[in-house]
Symmetry: D3
Subunit: 137 residues, 6 copies
C-alpha cells in the first residue's frame, strides 16, 4: 500500500457566522472571522489516496487523474469565490476549515473510487498556523 498526495490551491473569501445570531453573538464566538464584509485566505489543499502500485506503470494512480478530479470537482467551484455564497457544496454550512475538508471529501470520494483507489485524507491549510485533516468517518 502506497499513499499518494496531490497539492492544489484556491483563494477564497468567507465569513464565519450563523445568520440566526446577532453580529455581537457572532463576534463573541467567531471573533474577527465574523467580519460582515468578509475576509479571505490562500487555502492549500492536500488530497491523499492509497492503493497498490500498478506493476505495469509503477503508479498507484496517475497523479494527473487525481489532479483532474480535484480541479473539476473542487478548485473550479471554489477558487476566487465566496465560500458562503458561491459554492454549491458549501451551501448552508459555516465555512470553517473542518466543514470545508468534510465537504471536499464528499465531493471527490466517488470519483476516486471509480479509479480503483481509496481516498485517505483531505488536509486543508487555512494559514501557516491553522490546518485540519479529515480521514472520512
Amino acid at each position: 500500500m502506497v499513499y499518494l498526495t496531490r497539492r492544489e490551491r484556491f483563494n477564497a473569501a468567507h465569513r464565519l457566522f450563523k445568520k440566526e445570531w446577532s453580529d455581537e453573538k457572532n463576534f463573541e464566538v467567531f471573533g474577527k472571522c465574523s467580519n460582515p464584509n468578509w475576509h479571505g485566505h490562500n487555502y492549500t489543499l492536500f488530497v491523499t489516496i492509497k492503493g497498490e502500485p500498478n506493476p505495469e506503470t509503477g503508479f498507484v494512480i496517475n497523479i494527473k487523474q487525481l489532479s483532474k478530479i480535484v480541479k473539476e470537482k473542487v478548485i473550479e467551484k471554489i477558487d476566487h469565490k465566496n465560500l458562503n455564497i458561491d459554492v454549491d457544496f458549501m451551501h448552508a454550512k459555516i465555512p470553517t476549515s473542518e466543514n470545508i475538508a468534510i465537504a471536499i471529501w464528499n465531493e471527490i470520494e466517488p470519483d476516486i473510487k471509480n479509479l480503483n483507489a481509496d481516498l485517505h485524507c483531505v488536509k486543508v491549510i487555512e494559514t501557516e498556523n491553522n490546518s485540519v485533516e479529515y480521514y472520512g468517518n
Copy 2:
C-alpha cells in the same frame, strides 16, 4: 548601512473592479479576480528599513518598534477585512498588490522617519506566485 526587514501577515477579502465598468468589462480586464462576491488571500508583508546600527545597542532600530508601527498603522486596519470596503487607506483604490504596497508605504513612512530610519521597501506577496515591491517614488 544595514537593511532590517520585518514580516507581518494579514488575511483579507477583495475584488478587482472599476464600478464604472460592467461586470463583463471587469471580467475581461481582471478575470476571476473580479468575482462580484469577493475572494481573498493570505497576504505576506515584508517592510524593510535602512540605517546605521546604533553602537550602543547594535540595532538599526529595535525591530519591535517597527513591528508596532506596521501592526498599528496597517495590520489592525486590514487584517480579516475587506480591502474594498473596510480599509480607510484603500478608499477609492482598486486593491491590486501594487496599490496595496504604495498605500502601506504612505501609511507607515512618517512614523519610520520619526525613528530616525529610512523606509526602504514594502513587499506584498499575494500568492506564492505573485508579489510586488515598492521603494518609494
Copy 3:
C-alpha cells in the same frame, strides 16, 4: 472525526549532556550538541487535537482556545529561555526533541481534555532536517 492542528513557535537555548559524564564522554555521545556554552534553535511546534465538529459552530474546538493553552502552558515558559535551566517542565531531563515533545504533551493534555477534545499529536521540529512526533503512550 476531524484533526485540527495549531502551529506555535519558540526560540530556545539548550545543551545535550549528562552531568554525570565528562565533557569527553558527552561529546562522544552528543557531538557538538554538547557544547558547554549552549547553542539554540528556532523550534516549531505543531499540536494536533481530534474530535467531532460542533454542528452549531463547525469547529472541533475554537483554535484560539487551543492556541491559548499552548501559549500559556508551553510558549510563555519556554520561549527565549534555556531549556536546561529555565523551564520547570524540562527539569532534570535531557532536552532532546523526544523529551521536549513528551513533556509538552504532558503539560497540555489535561487542559485539552477539559475542552472535550483529545490530544492526538505533538510534533517538534528542531531544524529543517530533524523532527519528532509523539502520540501519547
Copy 4:
C-alpha cells in the same frame, strides 16, 4: 513510542517509460515525464523511525546514525545520478515516486533494525505538488 524523522535530499534525472512500449504509447501513459532525453527533480526524502527514547540519552536513536544510514545506502547512490541507469536498487524499475519510496525502504530497513528501531515511513517529495508515502507492506 516516539517517531523521529530525518530529511535528506537528492537531485536526479529520470524518465518514466516502458522499453517494451513505443514512444507514442509511453507519452500516452506517462505524458511529458516520458521525454526520451530525460528530465529531473530535486527530491526531498523524509525517513521516519519509531521507538522508545533511551532513558540514558533521551534519544530514540542518535539521528546522526539515521542520517549516516540514509546517506550511505541511498543518497550516495542516487544523488546527481540517473535513476533509470545509474542506481543499482532501481534496476529494471520504472522510477515513479512510488517505486523510489519502496526501493528506499528496502535499502535501509535492515540497517535500521540493527539499531533496535523500527522503520515507520519513507516519504518522497518529487515536486511541491506531488509526493508519496510508504509504510511497508
Copy 5:
C-alpha cells in the same frame, strides 16, 4: 515605479561539462554535476518587471500577461526537458544557473518591452542552497 514578480517552475535534466574535455577533467571542474548520465532539478524561476501602475487598473501590467510570456517563451521549451539537448535557447551553452538566467532574460525581454514594461531581474533557484540573479548587462 513598482516591481512585479511572477514565479514559474520547471523540472529539467542537465549535465555540466565541456565536450572538449575528458570525463576526468570535467569531474575535476564540475564535480558530480558532470555525471555522464545526467541529473536534474526542480528549478524555480522568478521574473521581475518594473513600471508605473496604470491608474485605470492599478496594474503595472496584468501579471497573467507576464505569466503567458514566461510560459510560452521559456517553460514550454524547458520543462521536463534536457537542458543540454532539447532546448533551443541553451544550444551550445553549459547549462549552469548563470547561463540559464542570461538565456531566459534574452528570450523574454523583447516581449516584455512590447508590454511597455522593463524587465528588471531573472532569478533562477536550482536548489534551496544555490541561486543566481541576472539584471541585464
Copy 6:
C-alpha cells in the same frame, strides 16, 4: 554581471545585553532577548557575490568554493556555539543580527576577493519574521 547566492545555516545561542547595564535596563532595551541564561536560533545565512560568468565554465565562481569559504570562516566557528562567548569574530559585540551580518562580511570578504569576485550581500535570517542585509559600507 551575475549575482550568485549560497545559503548556509547555523544554530547558535546568544543573549542581547550590555554588561555595563543592570538586568532591568537590559530587559527594558532588549526584552526577552536579554534572558540571562541565553536563548537561541536556527540562523539562515545567504551570501551573495557578483561577477562575470567565466566563458569556459559558465560559472561566476564555482559555488563550492564559495560554500567552502563560508563554512571554514563562519559556520565552523559559529554553528552550535554561543555567539557571546565562543566566537572570536563576535568578541565584545552585542550579537544582534545587524552585528552578525557585518562581522560575517568582514570575515569572508578577503577570501572572496582572492577568487576574483565581489562580495555583494550578507543576509542573516534570525526568525521567519526578522532578517537583516548588509552590502558593505
